[in-house]
Each structure stands twice: as C-alpha cells, then as structure tokens.
C-alpha cells in the first residue's frame, strides 16, 4: 500500500496517454494517481479466486451485420470538422514510415 508515483512512471504514463504535464500539474498528477491507487488497492481485500473477469454484463453474443454496402460517399461531411485539409485528406505532421 501507499503507492508512490515517481517521475519515471508519470513520464511513462504521459507517453502512453499522450499528455504533457509540467511543473505543478505534474506534481499534482503524481499525488492524485498515488491516492487513487491506494484507494483501488482496497480491491485486494476481496478474494476473487476462481471468479471470471466480467467485461460484458449481459450474455449477448454474435451480433453481426450482413456484408452489404450501406454507405455512400460522405467525404465532405467526414472532413467538415478537420482542423486542416488538403486534396480531400486530413493533414497530419510528417510521418517517416508507412
């Protein structure tokens, strides 16, 4: 118990979550996360041996679509909210692969 989130961990989480924290915000985030983890550690008190993790609460299965084209060209609508657009495409910073 009593989790401590160090700089390396918060930086790592920043890479995963694509968040850049600095100064005070970063110190606060370390404290908040440690506090939450202490709290979540409470789950450890429960014996869950043999209990299947439940991701879906109801036993719904096999939900499908048929392989039929239902969508037409909606490019203008798809691009309408793009911060930057060129030649009918979204603009991203230069990537060096793909």
């Amino acid at each position: 118990m009593a989790n401590v989130i160090d700089d390396a961990t918060i930086d790592y989480v920043g890479i995963l979550a694509k968040l850049e924290l600095s100064g005070e915000e970063r110190e606060q985030a370390k404290k908040d996360m440690a506090g939450m983890l202490d709290y979540i550690d409470k789950l450890g008190e429960l014996d869950t041996t043999g209990v299947e993790p439940m991701s879906h609460v109801f036993p719904v299965q096999n939900v499908f679509r048929e392989d039929v084209v239902t969508n037409g060209d909606a490019r203008d609508e798809i691009l309408a909210n793009a911060p930057a657009e060129k030649d009918g495409m979204f603009v991203a910073p230069q990537t060096f692969e793909g």
């Binding site: 991701s55 499908f64 798809i78 060129k86 030649d87 979204f90």
Partner: protein, 480 residues
C-alpha cells in the same frame, strides 16, 4: 573453422479479406476510390460511432482456420490495441489478443529435392481478426502527411506461425501454401504487391545444435517474395556479424528497404510498445457453436489435393498438367468451366499451359488476372478443333481473347479469318506458287523433301494465313 549458424524464422502474415464491406461498418472495400470517399463516422473514429461486426469476416476467418487445421475458439472476443498513429483513426485498433478465433494449426510444405524429408509441417500459433489502417501519403512539398481512411476498417486476418522455418525457401513455400489455400477459399486474392497479403518476418539466429532461441527481430514492409528472401538473408548476416563481433542482437522492429537492400530500426522514445490491450466493450463476444461450424465446414471448397486426384480420375490428364492448372484456384475454375462447356480437357489444358502462361509471363501477371470467359475460351477451342481457323490464326485470336475477352466466332467472321477450304481457290493459288518457284519444284523433285516446306509457306502467305496447312501440303504433293 567458422561457426555454423541456424536461422529461426516465424511469420506474421496479414491477409485482406475479400468482403464487400469493411469489418465494422457498411463502407465499401473497393479499391481505387478518391481519398476518403469510402468512409463514414465509424471508420474515421468520429465521436459516438460504434462498430458492428461483418459476419462474413468471422466466416472467412473460420474457413481459413479449418483449412489450416486450427482449433476454432468457440468463445472469442475482440480487444483494443492502443497506440497513437495518424493512420489509425481511433488511436486504437480493434484486434484479438486474449481469445483469437483460431489456434494451434499447421500447414505442410514440400521440401526441395535432396532434402531428407519430402514434407515439413509449419505450425500456426493463431489466426486473429482485425481492422486495417488508413493510408498515409507523404507530401514532401508541404512537409506533412495526408491521411486517407478508405482502407481504414478493411478486414484483415493475421496468421501467426510458430518459429518453425529455417530458410527463405521454406518461408516462401509456406507463403505460397497459405496463398493457395486462401485463394481456394475465396477469402482473399492474396496479392503481395498490392498489399492484400503482407508478411512480417520474425528472425533470430543461433549456433547450430543450440537449444535456446536467439534474440529475434521483426522485419516489416516486405512486399514481394524477392524482398522477403533478400531481407531474410540480410538480417541473418547482420545478426551473425553482431554475434561474431561480440555484440548483442537487440529485440526490435526493423523496416526493410528493398532498394537499399538494408533494414533499419524503427525506434522512437514516444513508441512505448505497451499496447494496453483490453476487451472491447463495444463488441459482444462470438460464440461459435457446432451448427455454425458445420455449415462453414460444408461450404469449404475442394482444396488442391482433392482436386488433383479428381482431375487424375475424371480428366485423365498428366500430373504435370494437373499441377500447373491447380496451382491457382482461378485457373482451375476456368479449366473446369471450359471443359463443362464441352471442350476437350487436354486441349483446354494445352491452351492454359502454353499460350496462357506465356502471355501471363510476358505481361508480368498472375493467373488470378485472367479475365476471359470460359464461353469464349471454349468457342475458340471449338473453332480450332473444327479447323475453321488454323493454329496460327488461333494464336492471334487467343491474344485478343486474353486482352479483351472477344467473342471468337464473331471476331473470326468480322476479320475474315476463316481457313479457306474451297479446293478450287486453293488449287489456283498452289498452281501459281509452283509456277513462280521453279527452283523449289526442281529441288523437291531431286529428292529435297524440305523444299515442300518453303512452298507451303509461300502458299500460306499468298492465302494471308487462312489456309489449312495440312490441306496445302496434301495438294502440293498431289500437283508435284
């Protein structure tokens, strides 16, 4: 003496499935649309959009699993693989990690002559379903990348092999085997160049006889058999050089550059390789029961081995012909359809093996690219057999058939290509040829049998190729 090294190779093969629509939305998978014209809120990751699974994707995946001797996971789920990249609109890819749809299968590959065993079994660790990413187009002028999501959400299966291969030849034999099975299923056209089949190579080396695997690297961007073979050779050498110079092989992803014939590491501080997989809450699990599995099993096509023995029994063809025809499902289908229209099996086979393969090779095409219809093909064979056209003309007509799927009967009439069988007309021409070539007539009479060939040629030329050479030959002998 230099140490002997063994190469250990496993493959991750991505295959684009031949569905009409994407895996989770009703957008078309057709190639060639203008950028972002085959997109919707789902495949562009718009807020509030939700995925719904295309049933055909699961059926193709199960079909491939059955064809590769896998155990079908009766209760399988989709997971999210989280990573940021602009071609991935949600910044997570819907894939399967924990419960992939197929597991523990194998295919058998033939080994080259001289090997101790004729066949080798390559294990398949798993097959899972996932969605393809969009396309990034580099705009060097503006110094940016442009994103087209037409391919985003196209269904893929990823076939993960065991590390059972030891050479580039085995890798290629394995890929060819997979390609054939999948093409027979109709689940994909499996074109490496067009990216509908893509292979990532996991490779490590170890001293011959060692039990432990070495550290492996993963190589991406291999889009031809040739590139795969060269990349394997290059990476093997690179790893051996590292080991011999006392350095360690680093586990990493490398990108093969086929023009430079070298690979380089794809490393970034921002790329943590920690994908935080978890079950996708938007997609309920799949429960594959016996009845469904049985329906798919019943629909499985006849695979190559079964086809081979049937061809042997039904069509009485030599093994050589059978191997060539059944090498491609598309070719085999064309063969069967043409024979069903009444053409003689061996004649059909000859046209496929000689003229068809020649043109494919000249044009750099695959058998899957054959576009002419069995009806027109059968009609051409019929015209030839009935000697309506001679073999030289037939080859010309076949080229037109191959290029444009012309109707041979109409084509022959239109171009006036019929063989002239009118004895009177032919006799007149032959008499004229004999009169114009006294030297050849002389030679023939002096026992130079070959001279008749020249005279036949001259007659054919005068007839603009439309005579039956046998008839010409016969008439010449008669008049001489």
């Amino acid at each position: 003496m230099a140490k002997q090294y063994e190469t250990v190779i496993g493959l991750e093969v991505h295959v684009e499935l031949a569905t009409r629509t994407k895996i989770f939305c009703g957008c078309s998978t057709a190639f060639g649309g203008a950028p972002n014209t085959h997109t919707c809120p789902v495949c562009t990751g718009m807020p509030g959009s939700l995925p719904v699974l295309n049933k055909q994707v699961a059926e193709y995946a199960i079909g491939v699993g059955l064809a590769t001797n896998c155990t079908i996971t009766r209760y399988c789920k989709f997971d999210r693989k989280n990573y940021f990249y602009p071609d991935n609109p949600q910044n997570y890819q819907i894939s399967q990690l924990y419960l992939p749809i197929c597991r523990d299968g194998y295919v058998e590959i033939g080994l080259p002559a001289g090997a101790t065993e004729r066949k080798k079994r390559i294990g398949i660790h798993e097959i899972h379903m996932e969605e393809d990413a969009g396309k990034l187009i580099h705009d060097d002028w503006e110094g940016c990348s442009l994103v087209d999501y037409n391919r985003s959400g196209v269904p893929l299966i990823e076939i993960v092999s065991e590390p059972d291969m030891r050479s580039a030849d085995e890798v290629i034999a394995y890929l060819e085997k997979l390609r054939m099975l999948i093409q027979y299923l109709g689940a994909s056209d499996c074109k490496l160049q067009e990216g509908s089949m893509r292979a990532d190579v996991n490779l490590s080396v170890r001293e011959a006889g060692a039990k432990e695997f070495g550290t492996r690297t993963e190589m991406k961007n291999l889009n031809s058999f040739r590139a795969i073979a060269r990349a394997i050779e290059g990476e093997r050498e690179r790893q051996i050089d590292l080991i011999e110079s006392g350095k360690a092989v680093v586990q990493e992803t490398r990108r093969w550059d086929d023009t430079q014939e070298t690979s380089y590491a794809m490393r970034s501080k921002e790329d943590a390789q920690d994908y935080r997989y978890f079950p996708d809450p938007d997609l309920p699990p799949l429960c594959i029961d016996d009845a469904w599995l049985e329906r798919i099993r019943e629909r499985q096509p006849e695979f190559r081995e079964e086809k081979r023995s049937r061809y042997r029994e039904t069509f009485d063809l030599p093994d050589y012909d059978i191997d060539l025809i059944t090498d491609s499902k598309h070719m085999a289908d064309l063969f069967e359809a043409t024979v069903a229209l009444g053409a003689h099996p061996k004649k059909v086979s000859n046209w496929l093996m000689v003229e068809t393969l020649r043109i494919l090779k000249e044009k750099g095409l695959d058998p899957e690219d054959i576009a002419f219809s069995p009806e027109h093909f059968a009609a051409l064979i019929d015209l030839t057999e009935r000697k309506v056209i001679n073999s030289t003309v037939a080859k010309k007509v076949f080229e037109a058939l191959f290029d444009e799927d012309i109707d041979p009967v109409a084509y022959v009439e239109e171009k006036g290509l019929r063989t002239v069988n009118d004895e009177g007309a032919l006799r007149g021409i032959v008499e004229q040829v004999l009169a114009e070539n006294p030297q050849s007539v002389e030679d023939y009479k002096n026992g130079k049998e070959k001279a008749i060939g020249f005279l036949v040629g001259q007659t054919m030329k005068a007839m603009k190729g439309k005579a039956d050479p046998a008839a010409v030959n016969k008439l010449l002998k008669e008049l001489l």
